[in-house]
């Protein structure tokens, strides 16, 4: 391996265009001196002395490390450290005999060349040097860095750096830098896009189903508390009364189903019919009575035996809405031939 300065002559000349020294000047050639003054016996010893070999290799490794560790340092244009390393390597090279050492030498050359290339690119040309660290400092000032007086610093900083950046630091830079960019403004629909929301989940319904049986007992009282005393008690009493009627009619003939319409309809008063339907619905809701369709698909109602239904209703619950108008009421009366009401009106009821 030839370098621009020095270099052993014992190698076959491999000058890559580098000038080096004049060929006809043996006295200044270190290698020649070394080579000519040592006798053959000495050469042999040097070649095989493992201690010397190790030493040379170790020195090479040191050089390589120093280049790698002190990279930033070596890059600085203010010193010649890289050149010094190369000179060191030159001196070492004359003692190189074996392939192992030569390989290390080659490795050092790769590392040094790399660094050399970077150093060269740093220079770039006269007057175009750009110090990125100085740039960063100037930018910090531009961002509005608040440099505090004393060196030691407070909560917000990484150790050692003084001052703190305002929150909009990067926004300031961006605003100024925007003019350097010909970015197309991002296109967005003014009113946003259509975003379909899924229908409310079914879980809500299930929860409501399970809760009522527990809360029903509670709900009734709270509602009743809110209402005027007479109304509440009246409804409650009425519901109980109707339950009583239902049970007694059922007990009269357990096998014969009670027609729902016959039960609730009062042929003498439409409004009382509606009230009956209203009160009966509480029985159904509370699980005290059940409605079902008979063979003719007509609704029937029957009380629920105690113990038949557990609180919380493992039975499937269905909801239905019953509507009635005076016309339908009259039609039902005719159809079922209802002469008399099964639920006797209370004396205190108002029409």
């Amino acid at each position: 391996m030839k370098r621009t300065r020095g270099g052993g002559d014992e190698e076959a000349p491999r000058q890559n265009g580098s000038v080096g020294r004049k060929k006809g000047d043996p006295q200044q050639s270190e290698a020649d001196d070394g080579g000519s003054t040592l006798g053959p016996a000495d050469l042999q010893d040097d070649d095989n002395d493992p201690g010397l070999r190790r030493e040379i290799r170790s020195k090479y490794r040191d050089l390589i490390n120093s280049v790698q560790q002190n990279r930033e340092d070596m890059l600085s244009p203010s010193n010649n450290k890289l050149t010094e390393v190369l000179e060191e390597a030159n001196k070492l090279f004359k003692d190189v005999r074996q392939a192992r050492e030569a390989a290390l030498d080659a490795q050092l050359l790769v590392v040094a060349t790399d660094l050399g290339k970077e150093k060269a690119s740093q220079l770039f040309a006269e007057g175009t040097a750009f110090d990125h660290i100085a740039f960063a400092e100037r930018l910090l000032s531009f961002m509005g860095l608040n440099r505090l007086e004393d060196g030691e610093d407070d909560q917000q900083n990484r150790g050692g750096i003084d001052g703190y950046l305002p929150k909009d630091a990067w926004h300031r830079v961006a605003r100024r830098a925007e003019s350097c960019f010909m970015t197309a403004p991002a296109f967005h629909y003014m009113m946003g896009s259509f975003h379909a929301e899924p229908p409310p989940p079914k879980q809500k319904i299930e929860r409501q189903r399970k809760a009522p049986s527990k809360e029903a007992a509670r709900i009734m009282p709270t509602q009743l508390k809110k209402m005027e005393g007479s109304h509440q008690e009246a409804t409650e009493k009425e519901v109980e009364r109707i339950l009583g009627y239902l049970k007694s009619y059922y007990q009269d003939d357990p096998t014969s189903p009670i027609s729902y319409y016959e039960f609730v309809i009062d042929p003498n008063s439409f409004s009382r019919t509606v009230e009956n339907i209203f009160h009966t619905s509480f029985l159904i809701r509370d699980g005290l009575a059940r409605m079902y369709l008979d063979d003719d698909k007509l609704p029937c109602i029957a009380p629920v035996e105690e113990g038949e239904v557990e609180a919380g209703g493992s039975w499937s619950r269905k909801q239905c809405i019953i509507s009635i108008s005076p016309k339908i009421w009259r039609e039902l009366i005719d159809a079922f031939d209802i002469r008399d009401t099964l639920i006797q009106p209370q004396n205190t009821q108002t029409e």
Binding site: G127, E178, S179, T183
Partner: protein, 268 residues
Amino acid sequence: MTQRKDCPNSHSSSQSKRQSGNLVSQEEDDDSTFTQPSTLQVQRGLEKLTTAQVDQKTAEVVQYFLVKDQKKIPVRRADLVKHVVKDYRNIYPEIIKRAARVFDQVFGLKLVEIDAKNHMYILINKLEKVDGASPIKSPANPKMGLLFVILGVIFMKGGVVRENLIWNTLKKLRVDSGEKHEEFGDVKKVITDEFVRQRYLEYVRIPHTEPIEHEFRWGQRADMEVSKAKILEFMGELHEQDPQSWTQQYKEAHSVPSSTQPGTSSQR
């Protein structure tokens, strides 16, 4: 919707310009089966379509671009053909031409092919920026500030820098690639992934480095979208120097308009 019988180009791969493909992905396959139709083919194709049909297809392409551009990821020709142009691929050049005209006249944008080999397009702003702050008081995207720092340093340093130089510069600016940043989050990811995918930066491995190191360069989008002259101007302001004092950089920023600087019409 189209009246012609069959597409003459859908299966021809003889003129494929793709390089040998052990890296062939699905998209590249599609692209390789798409060859630019000849002018004659385009003419013939146009004859069989109504103006309304061509306009409709052009409008679809315009819309596709506008939405895709939100994330600033370049649009690949393969995707465009596969998802939008579809059966109209035989008049593809005409559609692109019309779309570019729409962008130009309606939106003030330029449709640019930043990669002639892989056929990728971006949209850039045609309108000259008013000197000084923009009249629109919309909040600036801080990432643009970050990008400016990186692109600025790369440019001032001759066009290529080792990644450590960038990380060190940013560290000085309180942006640590190893930590989560208040404004930018995962800084390393934003820089080496997002900016690279948007083609603002190139992040390439340097061979023979142990441990692995990369170098940063300007990306194809930056070449089109970012003005070196304006960056130099800002640098001048910051350093209180005349931009011309950086002779090499000044020369490069104000060189004879190559097709790589914004402000020139470079429709390839």
